[in-house]
Amino acid sequence: MLIKNIGKTSISDDGRSRGLTEADVTDESVYVKRRQVLKGLGFAGASSLLWANGVGGINTANAATFKTKSLEVVKSNSDLVSDTLTPEAKVISHNNFYEFGAQKNEPQENAQKFNVDPWSLTVTGEVEKPFTLDYQQLFSVFDLEERIYRLRCVEAWSMVIPWLGFELSKLIKRAQPTSKAKYVAFKTLYDPEQMPGQSSRFLGGGIDYPYVEGLRIDEAMNSLSLLSVGLYGKTLPPQNGAPIRLVVPWKYGFKSIKSIVEIKLMEERPPTTWNILAPGEYGFFANVNPEVDHPRWSQASERRITRGGLFTRNRIKTQMFNGYGEQVADLYRNMDLRKNY
């Protein structure tokens, strides 16, 4: 059981711990490192708390906040990462999750009552041993690790987020894919009663639901591909894709599908939501590529969201494959990435 002290103690969203400190739940070296990072930032929390209290138009009218729980990890890549982390308050309040509203702040406002337990994630399709994980199993079947990744949105902003999760390859191997398994399809929960954007065009931005995404099998088996069940030491808040979401850090953010209920191995390339909506703008691969512009956004550079107001100089050059070329460039040998955008 890797969820420590469920029910007994938890860290709530307002940042106050109840008899449990971060040191209790995180590997000590990670913890110390993180303290150093935070110290370096002059403690990000101070300004974060300011927002949480509703200063500056962030709606906190929904008093009932979703309860997250602390998670334990067996290892972390934090020693290898030099990027400044995006403060947690920003990670959980600036979200593209149209199921809860198409404005960046709406998912946090509309998702707090989202019910993730019970949950059921089915692994099916071209596999020898299909299986289903329930809510508890999402956290207990595989060892959890912390992965700090850059997240690059197609809208030309980016964050650096400490995810908790396990490699997608572990889950796929467990199902024993057949030789026909060439693609992996993902599906988000379809539940218009809980996800108001799915039934309201006004809120949901007019895309077709359920949200679907896909990867080629070799992309899915790459060790960077992560199934995340948490961030910043705790289970995911709903606006970030609770209880389980994909994270593929070398692709634009919309590939990293949230609140997954089905993972299906397939012989044919599966349809993907944004590609269906605007095939000329969003490709199947959607690899971060500074040389191929989106019609509405230059992809040559990005604004990194960390701390700081208007005067922060946060525009940086976008890197090929979001800086993960060493691990993934081989997947696309002999492919024209202008055509396969």
């Binding site: 500056g56 308050a89 309040s93 512009d293 701390r307 100089r313």
Partner: protein, 205 residues
């Protein structure tokens, strides 16, 4: 019908009121954005805020003459230039935000964006029109230019159309909000169809 005529003192007070609302409104948002309290991405937020304020103020400006005519309140016309200039003021802030805070003075990127992103091209075109209208908005210049002044200032309708399309194209998938603006603009233009058509025929003859 009513024929309420405010004294010039009342007009001045009302104008001060408009100044106060517009400036306090803008200052408040800038204060929040500078202190990182305007959502997670204050840059996007302030760009959106100033852009929407420019569009809303422009539509408000265009509402004045139909309202003045309908309710016979000619004094309303005395607020038209003031509101028009505030539309330009917010458009200036919108552009300045884009260059200063979004592109962070990368002027080659700015040129590239204006050329390659159709919605930005339209936005810039609209800005140039508003700029021309603003610098010719003085009474003295208006008298000096005579007919030409009216012809130039009829371009405000073109600017409004460009700005609404600029907004429509900048949105990722939602069409309801920009759609509502298209509708509002069409109504405002329809109220002036006689004027617009005659201006069009005069030009084509």
């Amino acid at each position: 019908m009513s024929s309420y005529r405010p004294s010039s003192r009342t007009i001045i007070i009302l104008k001060c009121f408009v100044h106060t609302i517009a400036l306090v409104w803008a200052l408040y948002y800038y204060f929040l954005a500078i202190n990182d309290q305007l959502g997670s991405d204050p840059v996007k937020a302030i760009i959106h805020f100033t852009g929407m304020s420019a569009l809303n103020t422009l539509l408000l400006t265009l509402m004045i003459s139909p309202l003045a005519k309908l309710y016979r309140l000619p004094w309303l016309l005395r607020f038209r230039r003031l509101l028009g200039l505030y539309a330009f003021f917010f458009a200036c802030l919108h552009l300045v935000n884009f260059i200063f805070f979004e592109l962070q003075f990368d002027f080659s990127l700015f040129i590239e964006e204006v050329i390659e992103r159709p919605y930005i091209t339209l936005g810039m075109a609209a800005f140039v029109i508003l700029f021309a209208l603003a610098i010719t908005s003085f009474k003295r210049l208006q008298r000096k230019m005579g007919r030409q002044w009216q012809a130039l200032h009829n371009m405000v309708y073109l600017a409004a159309i460009l700005i609404v399309i600029h907004f429509y194209w900048s949105v990722k998938s939602d069409i309801i909000e920009p759609g509502a603006y298209v509708l509002a603009l069409l109504i405002l233009l329809a109220l002036r169809r006689a004027k617009l058509l005659s201006a069009y025929y005069r030009r084509s003859n």
